[in-house]
Structures are given as structure tokens and as C-alpha cells.
């Protein structure tokens, strides 16, 4: 029974995922089907057993289909079922399981399928063009703003306030792209990448360089959630959702000090309180913070209170240091999946990929990616919109 008096315990009992690639032939519905079917198969159930479907997918503008949730519906198994789409920009992938959790914890449904999909390749010349419509049409678009501007400005603040250098931040890209070699769906795995490669890559918007950023991708991922009495029947290894949290800040991002994501901290506090976690660095065994850019992993790990503000890269000088601290065999494994930097970034599906990763890690099914510290508690986090949303899920085996 959780701290907030929630009636029913909810577990993840199955997960599915497609390849993540820059461009896939399948339509968004077909990708959703692959992921959803795999989740149902691994849970040992059929669509007939599913009571409700929750869909997570980010801007309609990427896939180029209005009312995208409704369009994807039948590929997600939503045909003639209670179906709802949720959307908080990049935070969607972790918000989808949160919304699915509401469905089950409330007592309303016993088995819920949560599917996240993104098909960014339909948008020409580049999905970043669709992103620019997030900017204020009067204040920002006339300046010729590009999506990467906001990341660069945020990265600059983080580096300035904490005195962190690019060489230190680049080690995160190295860690994740190397970790991704062991992820079967990875788009950008690279066993040989070095800090120098990152520092030599093309400058996009200083200080952001090409290898600091995750790519746009097509892909889908899905999980099955079940109420306690059902979960125990279906599997010997349910992974319990012990804490959920979400928080948003305003779109007035120029009125905020960007060096620290307070809204991620508030979301984390909500989730940790529910899960009864009082000392995150000690009680969390493995974490998947959202890493669309390398500095973001540090930014978010601090927001998740896994380390003190500014200290994520404190003792990290090179590749060896980062693996020692945050590699799979490290003190606190972070992004053992390879993250968005290595596996890919189909916006909503990327956050769900992290949820799947924690699920597999806690079940000891992550194969070569398995962290060795016998993980019992894991946290996945996503982030997005105009630097505004933090979504956090804590899971326990």
C-alpha cells in the first residue's frame, strides 16, 4: 500500500519494442502493432484480455496526420475499446505509463495496454521544421529560431553555473553510444566513439555539436499493465510501479534560470514520496534519465536528486571516469540501455523505451546490458515541451 493511500498495486507484465531508425517503411499504425503485439505476447495475453488502451504520441506535426491518436488507434489495439491519447511533448513516453497506471490503480480496469509511437521521417525537409511551431509566433519565430537554440542556451547556463566543460559532457555521449551496442534496436550505437569524436563533430548551435544530439527516429514501444491479482496470475516476475510523478512549468522559458530543471525535481519528489524513497542515491539501483542531448543526462540526474546540483560530472575527466561512475558496472548505472543518444529518439517511443529498459533490468532480462548490482528499484524519466515538463516513474521488482 503506497503512501498516498492508493487502492490497487499495479505491475508491468510485458513489454515490446520495434527497431528505432531514421526512416522506417512501416506506417505509424504498423509500427504500433509490432510493439503492442510483442508486449501482449510477452505478457501471455491477447487483445481480447485488454480492458483499455492508452496511447502516447507527440506532435501530430511529425507524422503529418491530424488527430494522430485516433489515426493510430487500431494499430494500438484500441478498436472498440476505451482509448485515450496523452501528450506532453518529450515527456510523453513516461507519461503514457503514468496515465495507464491511473486506469488500473483507480480500480477501473484490470489490464491496460500502453503504446507509444513516433514517425518523424514523414516530415520534410527535417522534423525540426515542425518543431518551430512550438515557438511563440510573435516573439520567437520571426528571429528564425531553430529548436536547438533552446538546448544550446540551457547547456550554456548549466556549464556556466557549475563550471562544467564540454570534454566532461561529451563523455556522456560516449557512454551511451557505446552502451547502445548491446541494444538490439539501436540506431546510433558506436563501440569506438571517443570524446575527441564528439568535440570534432560539426557545430550546430554552440555549444551543441552534432554528436551531442540524439537523432530524429521512427519507432514504437509498448507495455502491459495489470492489477495485482491479475499480475500474479500472469507472471512470477511482475515489476511494480511504485511511484509516479509529473510536473509542468510555463512556456515563459526566458523568464527562468535554465541551469536546473525544478519541474523535474517536483515530479521526482511526487514519485519518490509515493514509493517511500527518502534517499534517492542510496535507494535507486538503476536510472534512465532522459538524454536527448548529452548534457541533459547530467541536468536530469541532478533534477532526479541522484546527485547534488552541479555534481554529476564533478569527478569525471574522461571516458574511464564516466564508466566507473555511471557505467553498467559503475557506482550508479545510468542509461544502461544506451539512451536516446545511442538507441534513437522517436519522441514518445523513446521515453517508453526507457520504461521497457527498467522493466527488463529489474527482471534480469536485459542480456548483455544487464547491470550487475542486483537492481531492485529503478527510475525512468522523460522531459519535454518548451523546457517545461518532467515525468517520472519508479519501479520495483
Amino acid at each position: 500500500m503506497s503512501a498516498l493511500g492508493v487502492k490497487r498495486k499495479v505491475a508491468v507484465v510485458g513489454a515490446g519494442i520495434t527497431l528505432f531508425r531514421r526512416r522506417l517503411k512501416e506506417t505509424g499504425r504498423e509500427l504500433s502493432f509490432y510493439a503492442a503485439k510483442m508486449a501482449l505476447d510477452t505478457a501471455g495475453i491477447t487483445l481480447a484480455d485488454v480492458d483499455a488502451v492508452v496511447c502516447g504520441t507527440a506532435p501530430d506535426a511529425f507524422d503529418g496526420v491530424h488527430m494522430k491518436g485516433e489515426y493510430l488507434l487500431d494499430g494500438m489495439g484500441g478498436h472498440k475499446k476505451p482509448f485515450v491519447r496523452v501528450y506532453v511533448g518529450g515527456g510523453t513516453g513516461v507519461f503514457t505509463p503514468i496515465a495507464a497506471w491511473w486506469h488500473v490503480a483507480s480500480g477501473h480496469f484490470d489490464i491496460v495496454l500502453a503504446v507509444a509511437e513516433e514517425k518523424m521521417s514523414s516530415c520534410f525537409p527535417h522534423p525540426q521544421k515542425a518543431f518551430t511551431t512550438i515557438f511563440d509566433p510573435m516573439l520567437t519565430r520571426p528571429l528564425g529560431a531553430n529548436l536547438v537554440w533552446i538546448f544550446a542556451l540551457e547547456m550554456q547556463r548549466y556549464m556556466h553555473v557549475h563550471g562544467v566543460k564540454k570534454e566532461q559532457i561529451a563523455t556522456i555521449a560516449v557512454k551511451n553510444k557505446r552502451n547502445a551496442v548491446d541494444h538490439p534496436c539501436a540506431q546510433l550505437a558506436d563501440p569506438k566513439i571517443t570524446v575527441q569524436d564528439v568535440l570534432n563533430s560539426e557545430v550546430m548551435v554552440w555549444p551543441v555539436q552534432r554528436l551531442d544530439i540524439s537523432p530524429p527516429s521512427d519507432g514504437a514501444a509498448a507495455i502491459v499493465l495489470a492489477a495485482e491479482h491479475v499480475a500474479k496470475r500472469l507472471t512470477n516476475d511482475p515489476v511494480w510501479i511504485e511511484g509516479v510523478g509529473w510536473c509542468l512549468d510555463s512556456t515563459y522559458w526566458t523568464n527562468r534560470d535554465l541551469y536546473y530543471p525544478k519541474y523535474v525535481e517536483y515530479a521526482a519528489r511526487m514519485a519518490y514520496k509515493m514509493a517511500g524513497i527518502k534517499n534517492p542515491p542510496k535507494e535507486i539501483d538503476v536510472a534512465e534519465p532522459y538524454d536527448p542531448f548529452d548534457y541533459k543526462e547530467a541536468h536530469h540526474a541532478e533534477g532526479l536528486m541522484l546527485v547534488r546540483k552541479g555534481e554529476y560530472l564533478k569527478d569525471v575527466k574522461d571516458e574511464n571516469d564516466i564508466f566507473a561512475k555511471y557505467g553498467r558496472d559503475g557506482d550508479l548505472p545510468i542509461c544502461p540501455s544506451g539512451g536516446l543518444l545511442g538507441v534513437g529518439n522517436p519522441i514518445a517511443a523513446a521515453g517508453m523505451m526507457k520504461i521497457c529498459e527498467i522493466f527488463w533490468q529489474l527482471r534480469k532480462e536485459a542480456g548483455k546490458r544487464q547491470v550487475k548490482n542486483d537492481p531492485r528499484t529503478g527510475v525512468a524519466q522523460a522531459w519535454g515541451d518548451l523546457m517545461q515538463v518532467g515525468t517520472v516513474v519508479v519501479m520495483r521488482a
Binding site: I17, T18, L19, F20, R21, R22, R23, L24, K25, E26, Y34, M38, T42, G64, P125, H126, Q128, K129, T132, P137, M138, L139, T140, R141, P142, L143, G144, A145, N146, L147, V148, W149, A152, L153, E154, Q156, R157, H160, H183, P184, C185, E202, V203, M204, V205, W206, P207, V208, D218, S250, Y252, T254, N255, R256, D257, L258, W360, E365, A366, G367
Partner: protein, 178 residues
């Protein structure tokens, strides 16, 4: 992943495959044209820009002077109380230089950009704009800058009525913000 799972699905296609017609596809360019209501606050803000002035709104409860102005304070969730002019000088809070245009295309002349806290706005309340007349290596957080305006006859009531912000020269403008 589970050793039980044999195959992860998805069929990769390259951009060339698509452009050269090896992968059948349908093209569409939906048109979307807008006339966004500027709103009370932005309507006044843009009109003041045309006059060469920058205006904000003050919330008396939290005391913040907000730029861009809004008719309600999102912290206090109450209407803001009065219009306040702010100066066109300010301090750089963060900055960058962009080699990319809106569609991720490389642009010839990289654009220096910054979030600038204008003198008169509350601490941390910044505005995004371009920088100019400055070498990238010289930009610093904390640098003092001043707006360079379009000549009055060219102004339209837009954020681009300010061309960019340039570093304050010796002896120009007062020190610091609020």
C-alpha cells in the same frame, strides 16, 4: 532484452530510396495560414516596439516586472496591475551562436543569440534576441548590451523592430539591472 525475443521489427529505408521512388510514398503539403490574435498584452507590446519602446507588466503581489508582458501573473494566478516601461539596455543571462536555420539547414552567417535581462525587468526575467557587432569569443554571461533599432519608418510593430543587441560602449548606459 529477453533472450526469448528473437526478432525486433522494422524495415529501414534510406532517404535516397524515398526520393528516387524505390519506396512508394504519397506527398502532401497541407496549407495552414493563420491570423493569431495578438492579445491584449502582446498587442500593446508590439505597438510600443514600433515606437521604439519596450513595455512590461508588473504584478504587485510577487513584485515581478514581466517581459514579455502578460495580463495575468502565472505565479500568483491573478491579473497583473500596471504597465511598466523597461529600458532597452540589459545583461546577457545566456547566449549561443547558431549555424542552423529553422529547418535545420546550415546558414552562411552564424547568428549569435542571447537571453537578455532588460534593465527594469525583474531578475531572471529575460527576453530572447540576437546579438550583433560582437565577436563570438567576446560574449560573456553578464555582458551589458543595448538594443539597435530599425529606423522608425521601417518598424512594423514586431520583435524584429529591434535588429539585435550590441555590447554597451564605454560610458554608455547605467550599471546593472534592478
Amino acid at each position: 532484452m529477453s533472450a526469448r525475443i528473437k526478432e525486433y521489427r522494422g524495415t529501414y529505408v534510406s532517404r535516397k530510396d524515398l526520393e528516387e521512388g524505390r519506396v512508394p510514398a504519397v506527398r502532401d503539403k497541407p496549407e495552414a495560414r493563420y491570423a493569431w490574435a495578438a492579445g491584449v498584452a502582446m498587442g500593446r507590446f508590439l505597438a510600443e516596439l514600433k515606437e521604439g519602446r519596450i513595455i512590461g507588466r508588473r504584478c504587485r503581489r510577487c513584485g515581478r516586472v514581466l517581459v514579455p508582458p502578460r495580463m495575468f501573473c502565472e505565479w500568483c494566478f491573478r491579473p497583473t496591475d500596471e504597465w511598466v516601461y523597461v529600458r532597452d539596455t540589459g545583461t546577457v543571462l545566456t547566449y549561443s551562436i547558431s549555424h542552423l536555420g529553422p529547418a535545420a539547414e546550415r546558414i552562411e552567417e552564424p547568428i549569435p543569440i542571447a537571453v537578455i535581462q532588460l534593465d527594469g525587468a525583474s531578475p531572471g526575467v529575460g527576453m530572447l534576441h540576437k546579438l550583433g557587432e560582437v565577436k563570438f569569443e567576446e560574449i560573456r554571461i553578464g555582458m551589458r548590451v543595448k538594443a539597435v533599432w530599425k529606423p522608425p519608418e521601417e518598424r512594423e510593430g514586431a520583435i524584429t523592430d529591434i535588429l539585435y543587441f550590441r555590447p554597451l560602449k564605454e560610458g554608455e548606459g547605467q550599471e546593472g539591472g534592478e
